[in-house]
């Protein structure tokens, strides 16, 4: 069968055709919204019209079979309209209140999990990991699944002081920028890469490789028509590997994950913040990463027990101080927690007004 005529540079379809009638009518004229439960909210228009949103978890990696099931649900209760969120939840949009309870019942019967709205843990932003990425030093999807199985109560109901945004990056490249999350898992290499000299000259461009190193640890190795790496300067970022495949940095024994906390992106009360390193290394422990999961859960629980209402993790830590964060959580303070990269001077203490 002949292929249809291809078109270029048409851009995406216009969004208006995908908006349900209640949104078309109340576009830009929403008055307020209320969170009715951790999985349901209602938006009320100036016209008095109401739009209920039911949020459902997804593993981000979705088969077409499951997307078709989302379509079935949307057709049955939502006139075929639904959306996804930036954190990979699915949202079913209902304008007829009579459909709300039957929708929830149907979702439950199908095994979909509702939640993630308000002062809760919602879906986890993450990267491809071993499922599909060339530079992964852990599996992001497996970590997320393991974490969220343990934290399910915070997705479905349990109240926290404020929302807690979790994220997983499968290498320090951090596609999807997890560097401003309340709690982030970042996979790290811990060993100087190995250069396969015999492949270098055919696959790599010398100036690009040298230029890719943020700490200038790479220099030419003319005898091998390749490069050499100064172990004292290398911080295992993997940027050289990204521009030159024969530089191999993967190490099954030494690759692992670090945990950073206290970041946020919104400006509510306090300005956006980066996450800061508190646990420098936990071994990769597939399939369930028990220690990394326990660490995340522990931090969530200490935060839940100590923070004031509305305080995000980073705001709570800034109020009590980092020395208190370490004493309350019992996390070991190690040399890696002291910055020895670009921003060191901004992170050291310059007064004696600390706490014991």
């Amino acid at each position: 069968m002949a292929l249809p005529q291809r078109k270029t540079d048409i851009g995406p379809p216009h969004y208006k055709q995908f908006l349900p009638p209640v949104i078309q009518k109340n576009y830009g004229k929403w008055k307020y919204h209320e969170v009715l439960s951790h999985g349901v909210m209602v938006h009320v228009g100036e016209s008095g019209d109401k739009l209920w949103t039911v949020r459902v978890a997804s593993p981000r990696l979705l088969s077409t079979a499951t997307i078709r099931e989302h379509c079935d649900v949307a057709e049955k209760f939502c006139g075929g309209f639904f959306r996804y969120t930036t954190r990979n939840n699915v949202e079913f949009l209902v304008s007829d209140e009579k459909q709300l309870e039957p929708l929830k019942k149907d979702l439950t019967a199908r095994g979909f999990k509702m939640g993630g709205i308000g002062a809760a843990i919602t879906n986890v932003v993450h990267t491809q990991g071993w499922v599909h990425c060339h530079s992964a030093c852990t599996d992001a999807s497996g970590l997320v699944k393991s974490m969220m199985d343990e934290l399910m109560e915070y997705f479905e109901s349990k109240t926290l002081p404020n929302k807690v945004r979790l994220a997983v990056a499968c290498c320090v490249n951090m596609c999807g920028a997890v560097h401003c999350s309340d709690i982030a898992v970042v996979a790290v290499h811990t060993k100087v890469p190995h250069v396969k000299h015999e492949l270098f000259k055919n696959m790599c461009e010398l100036p690009t490789v040298i230029g890719s190193c943020p700490t200038r640890a790479i220099s030419p190795d003319p005898a091998n028509k390749s490069v050499k790496i100064n172990a004292e300067k290398c911080m295992y970022c993997g940027n050289c590997f990204t521009v030159c495949p024969p530089i191999s940095i993967k190490d099954p024994e030494r690759d692992g994950v670090a945990i950073l906390v206290g970041g946020k992106i919104n400006s509510l009360r306090s300005n956006p913040k980066f996450s800061k390193l508190v646990i420098p290394y936990i071994s990769n422990e597939p399939p369930r990463w028990p220690k990394a999961v326990a660490a995340i859960k522990h931090i969530v629980e200490v935060y839940a027990a100590n923070a004031r209402k509305h305080e995000r993790v980073g705001e709570w830590i800034e109020r009590i101080g980092w020395e208190r964060f370490f004493s309350l959580t019992g996390i070991d303070f190690t040399f890696q927690c002291i910055d020895d990269f670009t921003f060191m001077r901004d992170t050291m203490r310059t007064s004696s007004t600390f706490k014991w």
């Binding site: 309209f81 951090m174 009360r269």
Partner: protein
């Protein structure tokens, strides 16, 4: 189809959170590529190492991006994933879909791809995971003939992305969905034909809640704000108090600029001192709403840590009107790219170039004047550049002071 024994990843089908392994197996039932991806992943779990290789150049005719090449080192053992390329489809503004549109996307993907997707990738695209090189032209013909275009990859303008905006949010200060669509259409060439030093991301949020994290992960962050006051409905404030909100503790005391008072049951805001952080509005959404002139703050330069550390976007234009046809904004974007093109080395994000060349060089390059809203604090060091023009301006001011007998700082 080959049946794989997968004891390790089977563990990830247990527990209440939805399982990606179940999704892979579902797709693998009638698809060799997805089936082999399951076996391939089990091997990663056994050996604690990944086996995917760098992409190389794959794509569709006339485009330089939109497809990411992916190959396995273990092609002999798992022939289904020897090639396993990603196709990025440009998503709709705000991720709104109809079931009929998505069924069409799924039908085409089942026919030519792995049946596996990411809804959505971190940049925003609708990401289809896994197809072979010889299927790419067919896939593109099928999608584009039905109104779907590829998204972006490589050193290009990455597919612009936005928050839900006026579609379903009372806080948005401009039409994020429309601006996203307009910019995507305007810059089709820059999206599909990589022409920059490195990637450039534009993200649009309707307010300071920043639901697409634009401040942290967009080279250009367009964040809605307003110049007017906050409108107060005193009856609704009373209702919040009646329903158990401790207005002093939760609102007044948590206001970062301490510009709110609540005495004698009257809720007052000193609007001149308000920094529009959104805390009070998000807590008392029925009682408070932004009023007056609406627009956006333009920030520049954020990125993840590779290569020299992460950056948050810096304010360059504190306020801009955001209205169709968005001419001022489009012109500004072009000026920003021109300066970046002139100054960047390969693989340098714009934030890194600004750090190297200085914010003054950048602001002058795009024609923006200095204004206190751009900074958190002035410099601490006395090592400044003085141009001939700067000195002439200082001298002219002093000459005028002599003439008038009045100092002008």
């Amino acid at each position: 189809m080959k049946k794989y024994d997968t004891p390790l990843i089977d563990e990830l089908e247990k527990g209440p959170w939805p399982s990606f392994v179940t999704e892979m197996k579902k797709a693998g039932k009638n698809n060799e590529m997805a089936n082999d991806a399951v076996g391939h992943l089990e091997k990663c779990y056994q050996t604690k190492v990944g086996y995917w290789k760098h992409g190389g150049i794959v794509g569709v005719l006339g485009y330089g991006g939109g497809v990411i090449g992916r190959y396995s080192e273990l092609g002999d053992e798992f022939p289904g994933v020897a090639h396993c390329h990603t196709v990025r489809i440009n998503q709709t503004s705000g991720f709104f879909y109809t079931s009929s549109a998505l069924r069409e996307i799924c039908d085409i993907w089942d026919k030519y791809g792995s049946g596996l997707t990411n809804m959505h990738g971190s940049t925003g695209d609708l990401v289809l995971l896994g197809t072979k090189t010889d299927a790419l032209e067919t896939i593109f013909a099928e999608y584009s003939s039905r109104g779907w275009d590829l998204g972006s990859s490589g050193s290009a303008l990455r597919t612009p992305n936005c928050c839900v905006g006026p579609g379903r949010c009372e806080w948005t200060n401009y039409d994020t969905l429309d601006l996203n669509y307009a910019l995507t259409q305007e810059f089709q060439d820059e999206i599909h034909r990589p022409m920059f030093s490195y990637k450039f991301k534009i993200k649009m949020s309707g307010c300071a809640c920043d639901c697409v994290a634009s401040i942290a992960r967009a080279d250009m962050s367009i964040i809605g704000t307003w110049k007017g006051h906050i409108e107060i409905n005193q009856d609704e404030v009373k209702n919040y108090a009646k329903n158990g909100m401790d207005i002093k503790a939760e609102i007044v005391d948590m206001c970062p600029t301490q510009c709110i008072s609540y005495e004698g049951e009257e809720f007052k805001i000193n609007n001149a001192e308000c920094s529009r952080c959104m805390h009070c509005i998000t807590r008392m959404t029925k009682a408070l709403k932004p009023a007056g002139e609406r627009g956006a703050t333009i920030c520049i330069g954020s990125k993840a840590p590779i290569v020299v550390g992460s950056l948050l976007s810096w304010v360059i234009v504190p306020f801009i009107k955001v209205e169709p046809p968005y001419t001022e904004l489009k012109d500004l974007i072009r000026k920003i790219w021109e300066w970046w093109d002139d100054n960047a080395k390969p693989r340098e994000r714009i934030g890194e170039v600004i750090e190297m060349k200085g914010m003054r060089s950048f602001l002058e390059g795009i024609g923006q004047s200095p204004i206190p809203q751009q900074i958190k604090e002035p410099r601490k060091d006395p090592f400044m550049f003085y141009t001939e023009d700067d000195m002439a301006a200082f001298k002219a001011k002093e000459a005028e002071e002599k003439k008038t007998g009045k100092y002008k700082f």
